[in-house]
Amino acid sequence: MIEIKDLHKSYKMGSNSLHVLKGINFSVEDGELVAIMGSSGSGKSTLLNILGMLDVLDEGSYTLDGVPIKDLNETKAAQYRNKFLGFVFQSFNLINYKSAMENVALPLYYQKVGRKERQEKALKYLEQVGLREWADHLPSELSGGQKQRVAIARAMAAEPKVLLADEPTGALDSTTSYEVMDLIQKINDAGNTILIVTHEPDIADMCKRIVHLKDGVIVEDKKITQVRASQYV
């Protein structure tokens, strides 16, 4: 599904440049649930941004579902993001003047799906995350956990190949974190490929594979036995 070879990325900070990713080789199979761990500054967010086509790589290659990702203009990148990827952010990033349902329907709108179908699908995904009754509420009327569930529903609505989650539980207390992880595990059980960036070991343990990043290189890449979040809920 994801194939990364010899990835380099550096940022220019005034006169000196900061080498963030120093040659990453990494691949993800279909249906995996991968946690990318590392301390801050290890380059995990940068890696996720490159995977999410929000940032461009300096060297190396990136293939997503057999499609080489390079030299994208903004229009093309937007199109690929919409087709291939679903994003879940630490700060939820819901659009605050749109209701939960409208937020979920947004990626479908960009796919030019008709209004009726869009609403039906949005409601279906809200149902899956257990927020059917909250469809008409604005984000400001939802709790943190609910917001993140709406965000997950939104990420799933476009039926992406890969779900990218950047610290999805970073702004939540542990109970809600486990609820959200439970949801992510269920989505993964249904066959979706998911990448999670986190620095919380207990969250990482709920994935099937942990990739440790340190100073821009992968120091550890191991498969683990998944801890089910449902036992904490």
């Binding site: 941004n49 999410g52 929000l54 940032d55 903004e74 229009t75 937007a78 199109q79 690929y80 993001r81 919409n82 087709k83 990827l85 994003f87 952010f89 990033n93 819901l94 659009i95 003047y97 947004l106 990626p107 709108y109 960009y110 796919q111 209004r115 939104r154 476009a158």
Partner: protein, 419 residues
């Protein structure tokens, strides 16, 4: 472009901060209001001046003789000559596109001696020998009886059409004028009609004191033979007398044996040229109105552009999210531009409507307080409103363009990092 979601979003954005939206809209509103009111005022002035020209056929020139200034074919310079009926026929035959060629003769004049007598009443009036066509060139409304007709011309009938001013000085109030006789320089003419001319000029009284008699009767009664005093020549509506007049002069010069280069032999007054000069003035005034109006509008448009920049700034993160979710940058650009155009058009429409209301008020006061000289019925035509709308759309487009550009210039990842 016309999808419901986009419009819903435009309304959501613009109504999220009412006070700011209204303040911004006011700039455009004010600009278009000033444009409309200026144009209407110009139109009012134009209408006033146009009505001074009255109903006179403006595509007209008047032509008279002045004496030659060059010797030609053995004839000396300084020779006096008069138009003959032959000249009139020659002009009619050789110059196409002329609507009316009216030979005229005239008795009396400004400050002339008393020349008309009725019983014990006398008066000094301009007496014209005319063809029936003259009523089309110098329009008047017949208040009773009729005007001169072709039968009068053919039969050299001694009939007269008198102005209301003449009637007032020769007749008692309420006395019937039709069928009575007046004596013009000793010759009796029967009154067959009375007229009144419209003018709000200074000479309004003077022009009611004229007497029209058939051209042929005039020639016979006052021994003019085939002499023609002067001519009033009107061109067809689709050609201009200013362009045709040289041809006319050439014909006259040939007929009267005048040197072809003698420009002073024939005098003329070109009403059309004069009229066009005045119209040119209004054209210039209209440009000034557009200039000032558009400049005022421009400051409003800059206001819109400014606010759109702020809106874009405020929504940077949202735009980042949308792009992460896969919205096409063009779609974002279109959204911003449409918001800008929508705001401009709505406020512009309000300005146009309010402008129309102001014009209505001006007209209302003009109507209730009586007319003001040279200012009649200020108004704007549908064409002007359409032009104003086009200006609005274009300026909305311009106002939205820079903010839209800045909205997609920032990378989604940077937009997402904004707090």
């Amino acid at each position: 472009m016309f999808n419901k979601d986009r419009w819903k979003e435009i309304l959501e954005v613009l109504t999220s901060n009412w006070f700011r939206t209204i303040l911004t809209a006011f700039g455009v509103f004010w600009g278009i209001l000033i444009l409309i009111v200026l144009l209407a005022a110009g139109k009012g002035l134009e209408n006033g001046i146009r009505s001074n020209f009255g109903d006179i056929a403006t595509n007209t020139m008047f032509m008279w003789t002045q004496g030659t200034s060059m010797a030609y074919k053995g004839l000396p310079k300084g020779r006096r000559f008069t138009f003959k009926l032959g000249d009139v026929d020659a002009i009619r035959q050789k110059v196409p596109d002329l609507r009316f060629v009216s030979p005229r003769n005239q008795l009396g004049g400004f400050n002339g001696t008393n020349n008309v007598v009725r019983g014990i009443k006398t008066g000094a009036f301009n007496v014209y020998g005319d063809y029936p066509d003259i009523i089309n060139q110098d329009p008047m409304s017949i208040t009773s009886g009729r005007f001169i007709n072709q039968l009068d011309i053919d039969g050299k009938r001694k009939v007269a059409v008198i102005g209301e001013g003449v009637r007032a000085s020769l007749y008692d109030v309420g006395e019937e004028a039709i069928g009575t006789y007046i004596k013009i320089q000793g010759v009796n003419f029967m009154v067959v009609g009375t007229y009144r001319k419209n003018s709000n000029d200074g000479n309004a009284e003077e022009i009611q004191k004229e007497i029209f008699i058939p051209f042929t009767s005039f020639s016979q009664a006052f021994n003019q033979a085939d002499k023609v005093g002067w001519m009033a020549i009107t061109a067809n509506d689709d050609s201009s007398i200013t362009q045709l007049k040289e041809q006319i002069f050439t014909v006259v010069r040939e007929n009267q044996k005048i040197h072809p280069q003698d420009l002073r032999a024939v005098g003329h007054f070109d009403l059309f040229e004069e009229f066009n000069r005045v119209l040119g003035l209004f054209k210039a005034m209209r440009w000034i109105a557009y200039f000032v109006g558009v400049l005022v509008l421009l400051s409003g448009v800059i206001g819109v552009s400014n606010i759109m920049l702020i809106v874009v700034k405020e929504r940077t993160k949202e735009i980042g999210i949308r792009r992460a979710l896969g919205e096409n940058p063009w779609s974002i650009k279109l959204q911003i531009i449409m918001e800008s155009i929508f705001l401009t058009i709505i406020s512009g429409m309000a300005g146009i409507s309010f402008g129309a209301f102001v014009i209505y008020l001006i007209n209302y006061f003009l109507a209730s307080n009586g007319p003001i000289e040279m200012f009649i019925n200020p108004s704007v035509s549908l064409g002007v409103v359409l032009v104003a709308l086009i200006i609005l759309v274009v300026s909305g487009l311009l106002a939205g363009f820079i903010p839209a550009q800045s909205a997609i210039k920032i990378k989604p990842i940077e937009a997402l990092r904004m707090e």
